[in-house]
């Protein structure tokens, strides 16, 4: 093991190229990981993040490029490497302590040090009371912390974390960040890969990857600075925020726009302040995402062809989704308790909450995947219990991970979903032709759905969900891992549909998606702890925690912590 002078990179790669057959996963990427710093590896799914991490860990070999990891070739010094793969690498049958023990032995932690190390790590990760629980029975956030603990049993000099934040709620994400930050104090060099740009913003340095190419490398502020003076919050007295977003995105002076509470955050196309009638602009500081969007060429247009061709639904009358006292018990365990709410046509309704809080259970009851122990729910006026088929006919569903049929072609998937929703003959053909046209799937109809690029998968999933033009749409973390431009495109469609009177129910860990909601229901430990619009929730959080202008994530965390204080002795009970 060669000695490395302090401050020298623990890992450095230049010109890394990796090909899989005809596909180039990494195309000349440079990266440098310095000790005592968190380097962010940022990009959407399939950008090449995992490939690069695997190459650094010595699990894959690069086709070209120079690599030096911990003073040698990758894979040479595994004693000083901590690595947490995307699925955490835990043995689900083994208990927390058995997993730790295994990794301690494998990494050669001296036996006398074991107990002290485990105690420290268990305290650090807050897992002490779950020592004997099988890893498979932990919640996502707990698995992630255990994964990290396993990578840290013997303090490494280089820590590679592959998307530690994926599928994990904001609280766990924040706690994890704090833990890793603490480690850098000991001089560990950390590589943190993520698809979330807000997470990347906090890194000491970032490498921005897209499609295997390095778009930016360096201080995140460097990218943000370029956008200085180009970001504004737009407000209008005459127009509602969604039509406003649409018109702003269609405006050539605007490069990008997203909803933020009741306002629109926009990035101007040029250096000057855009002049838009009836819209007041307040300058705000830029974010890393603005820089990324600019590199990617800006956001989409604001008009949704899908919505243009969609049925218009009455906004008045019966609620689109109605839940009354929904309760689900599994034996002694109450997964959801007395959840009641109403979502109207033309509204986006958000279901938020930490992992294992009961959010998924509630979601499942609402779309008929689980039968409530108590209470009722109705979709578009159809009770799920008594007229389940009619209720299911009037909803469209898009699952969290891509769950169409990967071995079937695009066309076969569309055929199936058209048929499953009762479209036949000419009606089916017309509906399919329409979505193929709208989502530009024409060239891909014969391709297996599993082999589509992520963005197309996303489009196909949405196409399958809306072909039968349902009045209600259920979305389960619809855009996780998708690049920001695709994500905006997706929300343009959703906004368009809402304008047509469609009701959208969305669950998400992703605070940007939460901002699009009209109303949010926050679930924690099986109970609904807060309801209201994003701005309402921010206000409630501001009062509860004394925050000044909190972000959605701040609000989320503050409200959950506030309910802790209400109910005493929090996490041990989980």
């Amino acid at each position: 093991m060669a000695a490395i002078p302090a401050g020298d990179p623990v890992a450095r790669a230049t010109g890394v190229v990796k090909r899989f057959g005809a596909l180039t996963a990494l195309d000349g990427v440079d990266i440098e990981i310095l000790p005592g710093r968190i380097t962010g590896l940022v990009g959407p799914d399939a950008a090449g993040k995992t490939t690069l991490i695997r190459i650094l860990a010595g699990l894959m070999s690069a086709n070209e490029g120079e690599l030096r990891v911990l003073g040698g070739a990758p894979g040479e010094d595994l004693e000083d490497l901590g690595y947490m793969p995307q699925r955490f690498g835990l043995y689900e049958d083994l208990s927390v302590i058995q997993n730790l023990n295994l990794y301690a032995d494998l990494r050669g932690l001296p036996t006398p040090d074991k107990r002290a190390t485990f105690d420290r790590l268990l305290a650090f990760t807050d897992l002490a009371s779950f020592e004997d629980r099988p890893a498979g029975k932990l919640s996502g956030g707990m698995k992630q912390k255990l994964g990290l603990a396993c990578a840290l049993v013997k303090t490494p000099r280089l820590l590679l974390l592959d998307e530690p934040g994926v599928g994990v709620d904001p609280i766990s994400r924040r706690e994890l960040w704090a833990m890793v930050k603490e480690l850098t104090g000991e001089g560990i060099g950390v590589l943190w890969s993520t698809a979330y740009l807000d997470e990347a913003e906090k890194c000491d340095a970032v490498c921005l990857l897209n499609d295997g190419k390095l778009l930016y490398s360096g201080d995140p502020a460097g990218l943000t600075e370029r956008m200085e003076g180009r970001v504004y919050l737009a407000r209008s007295d005459q127009v509602d925020r969604r039509p406003l977003l649409r018109s702003l995105l269609d405006n050539d002076a605007v490069l990008d726009a997203t909803i933020q509470g009741s306002t629109i955050r926009l990035l101007s196309a040029g250096g000057e302040r855009p002049q838009i009638d009836g819209v007041s602009l307040t300058p705000v500081p830029p974010k890393l995402e603005d820089g990324f969007i600019e590199i990617l060429g800006g956001g989409p247009k604001g008009t949704s062809a899908l919505a243009e061709a969609y049925t218009t639904f009455e906004r008045s009358g019966q609620p689109a989704i109605e839940a009354v006292g929904l309760t689900k018990r599994y034996g002694d365990f109450t997964a959801a308790n007395q959840i009641s709410f109403t979502a109207r046509p033309g509204q986006i309704f958000g279901l938020l909450g930490p992992n294992g809080a009961g959010k998924s259970t509630t979601f499942k009851m609402l779309c008929g995947l689980a039968t409530p122990t108590e209470g009722q729910c109705a979709v578009a006026g159809h009770d799920l219990k008594h007229s389940g088929a009619a209720a299911r006919q009037s909803l469209g569903y898009m699952a969290q991970k891509f769950s169409l049929y990967g071995d079937l072609s695009v066309r076969q998937n569309l055929d199936f979903f058209a048929g499953a929703y009762g479209l036949a003959g000419g009606a089916a053909r017309a509906a399919i032709d329409k979505v193929v046209d709208i989502f530009e799937l024409g060239e891909k109809v014969k391709v297996n759905a599993g082999q589509l690029p992520l963005g197309y998968k996303q489009r196909l999933a949405l196409a399958c969900a809306v072909m039968h033009e349902p009045p209600v749409l259920f979305l389960d973390e619809p855009t996780s891992g998708v690049d920001p431009v695709m994500r905006r495109e997706f929300w343009v469609h959703i906004n368009g549909l809402v304008a047509r009177g469609v009701c959208v129910l969305v669950t998400t860990h992703f605070m940007e998606e939460a901002e699009y909601c009209d109303d949010i229901l926050l679930i924690y430990r099986s109970e609904q702890i807060a309801t209201g619009s994003p701005d309402d929730l921010k206000r409630q959080a501001a009062e509860a925690a004394g925050l000044d202008d909190p972000t959605m994530e701040d609000a989320f965390i503050a409200l959950i912590e506030a309910s802790h204080i209400d109910t005493r002795n929090p996490r041990k009970a989980a």
Partner: protein, 364 residues
């Protein structure tokens, strides 16, 4: 109707487009056809036997010649001592050894009866018994010339339906039975668990498809594949292996259909029970093995203890095996087919209802 059509077509594509699934569909049946038709024979041919001839006379010589002339024996090892003989049997170099005592020739020449001893390897009792039969037949012909006339024919054996007892005529009709038990169950058992694993199960459950539509849609394509395989073997049996088909094809097809429906019910039950494809695979293996082994192919059903025969009454293959053989070779009439197959209809009803019940119970 439109929904059912949509899911049936989708399931059909799901079977055929997944390269892994495709492999499970066609390679095992081909391997089985190849191995079963050639290797699964209870005939005993080409065996090596030993000889310890202490008589060394004309009659023992004649016996040796007769033995070597028989197509059943490949080689006759000559031993010179009982110790050699014992070792050869122990090490399985020969399955049987003939011991000719010193006075063998003398007795025969004198017109008296003489015995030969045959030592057989009891570890392989089945083959050994058959070899013993061969040797007896040859031995009884020895010394015929000393007697005044040929021994009279006492038992005239004819074999109906398969005059030369061609083994492959037995194997191929049976193979159609076993093939169904493997393919139908294995393919159906993957259908639900695969969706659970790739995550599309929820997607299916939130669609307006009714439970019976999902079940039917998931069972029709495996049924199609099983019938296709069955018919392919039906043709191959006749064209490649020359097995006569003497009965009625519609009758055969109806029985094949009923049999496969019963099996698909079993497969669907396993599939609903399993969370992963892994479990489904193990489950279908654990069920297929007894179905095949207790069908009567490897050994007649009446050889089992009675309580075991009672258990075997739930085995659809036990009923379809004689029917397949019967319609192929014996032109089995409809009434006999019906007598065999009605329990399969009950089994099918039970397995299908159980599968539907379990599927509903485990939807969440």
């Amino acid at each position: 109707m439109g929904r059912l059509k949509a899911i049936t077509i989708k399931e059909f594509w799901a079977l055929l487009r997944d390269p892994k699934g495709r492999m499970a569909l066609f390679i095992p049946p081909l391997m089985q056809m190849f191995l079963f038709s050639f290797a699964a024979t209870l005939e005993v041919r080409n065996v090596d036997i030993g000889l310890l001839d202490m008589s060394q006379g004309a009659y023992s010589q004649e016996l040796v010649e007769q033995l070597s002339g028989s197509s059943n024996f490949r080689q006759i090892e000559v031993f010179h001592s009982p110790a050699e003989l014992q070792q050869a049997i122990e090490q399985q170099q020969v399955i049987a050894a003939i011991v000719i005592e010193q006075d063998f020739d003398r007795r025969l020449t004198a017109g008296r009866p003489a015995d030969i001893g045959v030592v057989l390897d009891g570890r392989r009792s089945n083959a050994a018994q058959i070899v013993a039969g061969y040797i007896m037949r040859i031995a009884s012909g020895i010394g015929a010339d000393v007697r005044s006339l040929d021994p009279p024919e006492t038992v005239r054996v004819i074999n109906w339906f398969n005059p030369n007892l061609t083994y492959v005529w037995y194997n191929l009709p049976s193979l159609i039975v076993m093939l169904g038990a493997i393919t139908s169950i294995a393919v159906t058992s993957q259908s639900v668990s695969r969706e659970r694993e790739i995550g599309s199960f929820d997607q299916l459950m939130v669609s307006p498809l009714r439970v019976h539509e999902i079940l039917l849609g998931k069972m029709l394509p495996p049924l199609g594949v099983s019938l296709f395989n069955g018919l392919l073997f039906w043709v191959a049996a006749q064209v490649i292996f020359g097995v006569p088909f003497t009965g009625s094809f519609p009758l055969f097809f109806a029985a094949l259909l009923l049999y496969n429906v019963a099996l698909i019910g079993v497969g669907m039950f396993i599939s609903s029970l399993s969370q992963t494809q892994q479990q489904a695979f193990l489950g279908s293996f654990l069920v297929s093995v007894p179905i095949i082994m207790l069908s009567g192919f490897s050994s007649p059903v009446e050889n089992m203890p009675e309580w075991f025969q009672l258990i075997d009454h739930v085995n659809p293959a036990m009923y379809f095996l004689p029917v397949s053989q019967g319609i192929f070779l014996k032109a089995m009439p409809a009434s006999a087919v019906f007598d065999w197959m009605w329990p399969v209809a009950i089994i099918a009803l039970v397995t299908l209802s159980a599968a539907a019940w379990l599927f509903r119970a485990r939807m969440e």
